[in-house]
């Protein structure tokens, strides 16, 4: 489902020199698979996720979604591809503070062109499933961190994207809320999505179908850990 080959990405350091954060990364995550990428801070995990999710371009290499080379698409086509095929869960939730919880979830449907009534019904179902439906009219600052991440997760899966990318999804959560989100990510993989999770939490790798370690811009396979958290 999600495949990347030869990804290279460099940033410019303050002294003007290049910092290579991705150095020929190859990765493939099939439908119904959960892949976890672990690594030290600054190892390039988030950059990899951004490139896989078409949030930024690699300097070299390609990203394919369902066989299509989406990294070669134009700016607007990439936007449409993100809306239809990719869901994002961010460490800092990235909810829009001016919108209610329900409206934040519905944003995903707006850009995917999904009928409003259908999207609203599904959004409420998801908010109920994650125990925040009674908070649907609240604004993000009125929600706890755990509630915000649950709302953000509902937004990410509203359109049932075949690819779900999560960048440190439990980084700002307590253990209990972290476990809820990790379980939800695994459930999405079980439901058929290709899920990639970038994290520093050791327990996130438990039950993953594939575990990778990011080191010096390169991705190395690590033995998967069994058992559920």
């Amino acid at each position: 489902m999600l495949e990347a080959r030869g990804l290279v990405k460099s940033y410019r350091a303050p002294d003007g020199g290049p910092i290579r954060v991705l150095d020929g990364v190859d990765v493939a995550v099939g439908a119904g698979r959960l892949a976890v990428v672990v690594g030290a801070s600054g190892s390039g995990k988030s950059t990899l996720l951004n490139v896989l999710g078409l949030l930024e371009d690699a300097d070299a290499g390609e990203v394919r979604l369902g066989g299509e080379r989406v990294s070669a698409l134009g700016r607007s086509a990439k936007g449409r591809a993100r809306g239809r095929f990719i869901g994002f869960v961010f460490q800092t939730f990235l909810l829009l503070p001016s919108l209610t919880a329900l409206d934040n979830v519905l944003l995903a449907a707006r850009y995917a062109g999904r009928p409003a009534a259908d999207a609203r019904r599904r959004a409420r179902e998801l908010l109920a499933e994650f125990g925040v439906v009674e908070r649907q009219a609240h604004y993000p600052p009125q929600l706890s961190g755990g509630e915000q991440q649950r709302v953000a997760f509902c937004r990410a899966v509203l359109n049932d994207p075949p690819v779900l990318l999560a960048d440190e999804p439990t980084g700002n959560l307590d253990d209990a809320n972290g476990r809820v989100i990790l379980a939800a990510l695994r459930a999405r993989a079980t439901a058929g999505a290709a899920v990639v999770v970038v994290t520093h939490r050791a327990d996130a790798a438990a039950g993953a179908d594939a575990v990778y370690r990011m080191r010096a811009g390169r991705l190395q396979a690590a033995p998967p850990q069994g058992g559920a958290p």
Binding site: L55, G83, F88, L96, S98
Partner: protein
């Protein structure tokens, strides 16, 4: 709209202040323009003739005595359609005889003949009635004069010891008649004699054969349909001796050149208002868009295309600038009303909020806001969603 107000309260307030500045300065400009245009229309509506030499008259009737014989001679000139003897005097002779925005004038007209001015055959009366043939001891006053003197219809206005009943108050014209005290020419002649010690002395000495009918500071002259007013004016100057004839087009040019300073000042004020207000508005809108760079990054991450994002930003910018523009117009109107209420105590009106000014300010603010929003959006969509989120963090 509620959402826009909640999200952009400060932005709208910033725009409102900028627009209020533009509108207030523009309204002051409009006020001066109306005064100049009013004077221009008046002088182009008649040929003004005064006696040669110097005298008590003021403004376009400044000059020496215009005897009744000269007025009869003018009426005989081919092309002339009507002649109305007039006396125009400063109400307070100690003030400058240069016609200014604030000068109060007595205008006495021969009520037995129609006013020949083609632009102002009658001045609009707001309350009471206009002067009519046979009126004596009564006056019609301009709106500013009435306000500054606290006069209403039926009140008495003492002038040089003679009480005048106010029978009418003119509509506000924002030009010279706002400060007129209009009366019959016979009453005005008595005012003239009372004010002018030299004239009294000359008449009392019997040194000059002056009849009451000769006491005219000037006359308004009309022309027949199809006649060129300048040509008629030149004809009067050629055929009638001892008169100063104001050529309408020359007088208009003179008026315009004498108000050139005000015109330049207006242009400067307008440019300044538009530059300062416009920059303030554009900067406010662009800053508001840039402030939300993270939100736009998130929206693009969720699938928003450039077109969708641009449309959203533009719609919000239009709502914000329109709200700010309307609020700004409201602030300017309130400010203008407050200042004018204060200024009305001295008969002044400083602001004129014309439809073209208010409409223009709104259109200007909306277009500029849209342009600023489009510029900021174009800058943002060039960033990758990840970069936009990073910069907005």
């Amino acid at each position: 709209m509620t959402k826009v107000l909640r999200e952009y309260g400060f932005t709208i307030a910033g725009i409102a202040i900028g627009v209020a500045g533009i509108v207030a300065l523009g309204a002051m400009g409009e006020r001066i323009v109306r005064f100049i245009e009013g004077g221009d229309r008046f002088v182009l509506g008649q040929i003004s003739v005064a006696g040669s030499g110097m005298g008590m008259g003021t403004g376009f009737t400044a000059g020496g005595l215009l005897p009744v014989s000269a007025i009869r001679a003018i009426a005989e000139v081919p092309g002339v359609a009507g002649v109305q003897a007039q006396v125009m005097l400063p109400l307070n002779p100690s003030t400058s005889q240069f016609m200014t925005l604030t000068q109060e004038l007595i205008l006495g007209v021969d009520l037995s003949v129609p006013t020949p001015n083609r632009q102002f055959p009658r001045l609009p009366v707001r309350a009471g009635r206009d002067l009519g043939a046979g009126d004596h001891g009564v006056a019609v006053v301009g709106a500013s004069f009435a306000a500054s003197h606290g006069l209403r219809v039926g009140d008495r206005l003492p002038l040089e010891g003679e009480p005048f009943e106010i029978v009418g108050i003119l509509e506000r014209t924002l030009t010279a008649p706002d400060r007129f005290v209009m009366m019959s020419i016979e009453d005005a002649r008595r005012q003239w004699v009372a004010k002018d010690r030299l004239l009294r002395t000359v008449i009392a000495s019997g040194a000059a054969a002056v009849n009451a009918a000769d006491l005219n500071t000037g006359t308004a002259v009309g022309w027949r349909d199809g006649e060129d007013p300048d040509a008629v004016a030149h004809r009067i100057a050629e055929r009638v001796k001892g008169v100063n004839v104001q050529i309408p087009s020359e007088l208009s040019g003179l008026l315009r050149s004498s108000t050139a300073f005000f015109s330049a000042l207006l242009v400067g004020l307008g440019v300044l208002a538009f530059v300062i207000g416009g920059l303030s508005l554009a900067n406010t809108i662009a800053a508001a868009v840039f402030e939300r760079i993270r939100d736009f990054g998130v929206k693009r991450a969720l699938g928003a295309t450039d077109w969708q994002l641009g449309r959203e930003v533009l719609a919000e910018a239009l709502a914000v600038t329109l709200s700010g523009g309307i609020a700004g117009v409201g602030i300017a109107l309130l400010l203008g009303a407050g200042v004018d209420r204060w200024a009305a105590r001295t008969g002044q009106q400083l602001f004129l909020f014309s439809g073209r000014l208010l409409g223009g300010a709104l259109v200007f603010s909306v277009l500029l806001g849209a342009a600023a929003a489009a510029y900021a959006t174009l800058r943002i969509v060039r960033l990758s969603p990840a970069e936009a989120i990073r910069r907005g963090a």
